[in-house]
């Protein structure tokens, strides 16, 4: 394979492997980075949340709810919450506002510390 890419590949590109990472690794990292409200704000500002293909992909990522995939998440609570919220159109529209993002961050923080004593 030529490094400059002029020669056509001798076989079709492997869909589960990209840039030295497996597809699962990439999807796992992406879905967990969604748990960061600022990342969601970044996606919203760059108009990713208006793309129906992107929204369909987010719906596809819901498979991380299943126990056999859930065990790979380091941040299960905020990740699943973000996935749930991103399915709602109103949330996607409001994700650009800093107030909503801050509220989401606070909610996540409170949820994580809910069990601790004051």
């Amino acid at each position: 394979m030529n490094p400059n890419g002029t020669a056509p590949p001798s076989r079709p590109r492997d869909p589960d492997f990209y840039a030295g990472y497996t597809r699962f690794e990439i999807e796992c990292e992406f879905v967990q980075s969604l748990s960061n409200p600022l990342y969601i704000q970044h996606l919203a500002l760059n108009k990713y949340l208006d793309d129906p293909a992107f929204i369909a992909y987010l719906a596809y990522l819901d498979y991380f709810r299943r126990p056999e995939y859930l065990k790979f998440l380091l941040y299960p609570g905020p990740t699943l919450r973000a996935l749930e919220l991103l399915q709602q159109e109103q949330f996607r529209k409001d994700a650009v506002t800093p107030a909503l993002i801050e509220a989401m961050a606070l909610e996540g923080f409170e949820a994580a510390t809910a069990g601790t004593q004051v």
């Binding site: 394979m1 590109r13 990472y21 990439i26 960061n36 600022l38 704000q41 970044h42 923080f109 004051v118």
Partner: protein
């Protein structure tokens, strides 16, 4: 019992009477005396029997009392058991129809351990964290940053990849302390929570997606990196190609030798070929 007593009394009485009659008639009969003695013995025997009888009655009473006590005790025990059972049934039971998944304890514990560094820092105390996000005082800055498993580096790293992110502030950074209060509040948005239960921006930037972004910015095509299976295929292909090349070279040499032999037999028998021009050939 009573009739028996009465009979022996009567007998006693009769014999005594007979004896006194015989003595009064100046004809003491020893038979009557014997009769009296016998009657007396009979009476004694009856008295013994009476004592025995009375003792038996007392024993029966006592046994009755003991039996009654035992009955009461059993009744109390039954009552206690019934109450305990009622209490047990009254304990609110778990709703088991929600998740019928059984997870092994080891799996559960190992997963809990897996998530624990990213769920809460070990020395977290809720009273250290003020409720409001915008009005942060200096006291909030002195929280245990060392307990934060995901440290936030100073400004200016990997920010060009994520233009939408607000700038981060580390409380121990000298520069922020020089800032005025309102500027600090302006920069202090949701980003300055000392611990957050999600990956921070530098963490994301160092991950797979960040690396892909870097590669794209450097102009390298990420698709050129081959998977292990593809790498193996590639190596095989190269080996096959090399072998084919070697085979071709062998062929060429052999052909040259043949042509050489066919052209002039002088050098027949000599296996080695020579490129030097031989004017005598």
């Amino acid at each position: 019992m009573l009739s028996q007593f009465q009979a022996s009394y009567r007998r006693m009485d009769q014999s005594l009477q007979r004896l006194t009659d015989s003595i009064a008639a100046y004809n003491p009969s020893t038979a009557a005396a014997d009769e009296l003695v016998a009657a007396d013995d009979a009476l004694n025997e009856d008295l013994t029997t009476l004592i025995q009888h009375q003792r038996n009655v007392l024993r029966i009473e006592e046994l009755k009392r003991i039996a009654q006590d035992n009955d009461d005790r059993i009744k109390n025990h039954f009552r206690a058991v019934a109450e305990l059972r009622k209490e047990l049934a009254a304990i609110p039971s778990m709703n088991t129809n929600a998740s019928a998944r059984s997870v092994s304890i080891d799996e559960l514990l190992s997963y809990a351990r897996f998530i624990s560094p990213t769920t809460l820092p070990p020395t977290f105390r809720k009273q250290d964290v003020p409720a409001q996000s915008l009005s942060r005082t200096a006291a909030a800055e002195s929280q245990p940053h060392t307990a934060n498993g995901i440290a936030t580096p100073p400004l200016g790293t990997h920010d060009d990849a994520q233009p939408g992110n607000t700038a981060r502030i580390n409380g121990s950074n000298i520069g922020t302390r020089a800032l005025k209060e309102e500027e600090k509040a302006w920069l202090d948005s949701v980003a300055s929570l000392p611990f957050v239960p999600w990956p921070e921006q530098p963490t994301i930037a160092n991950g797979a997606l960040g690396q892909i972004q870097l590669m794209l910015e450097q102009g390298k095509d990420p698709a050129t990196l081959l998977s292990p299976a593809e790498r193996v295929e590639e190596e095989e292909r190269r080996r096959v190609e090399e072998e084919a090349e070697r085979a071709e070279e062998e062929e060429k040499r052999r052909r040259r030798v043949e042509v050489f032999d066919a052209a002039g037999g002088r050098k027949r028998g000599r296996e080695e070929e020579s490129d030097v021009f031989d004017p005598d050939a």
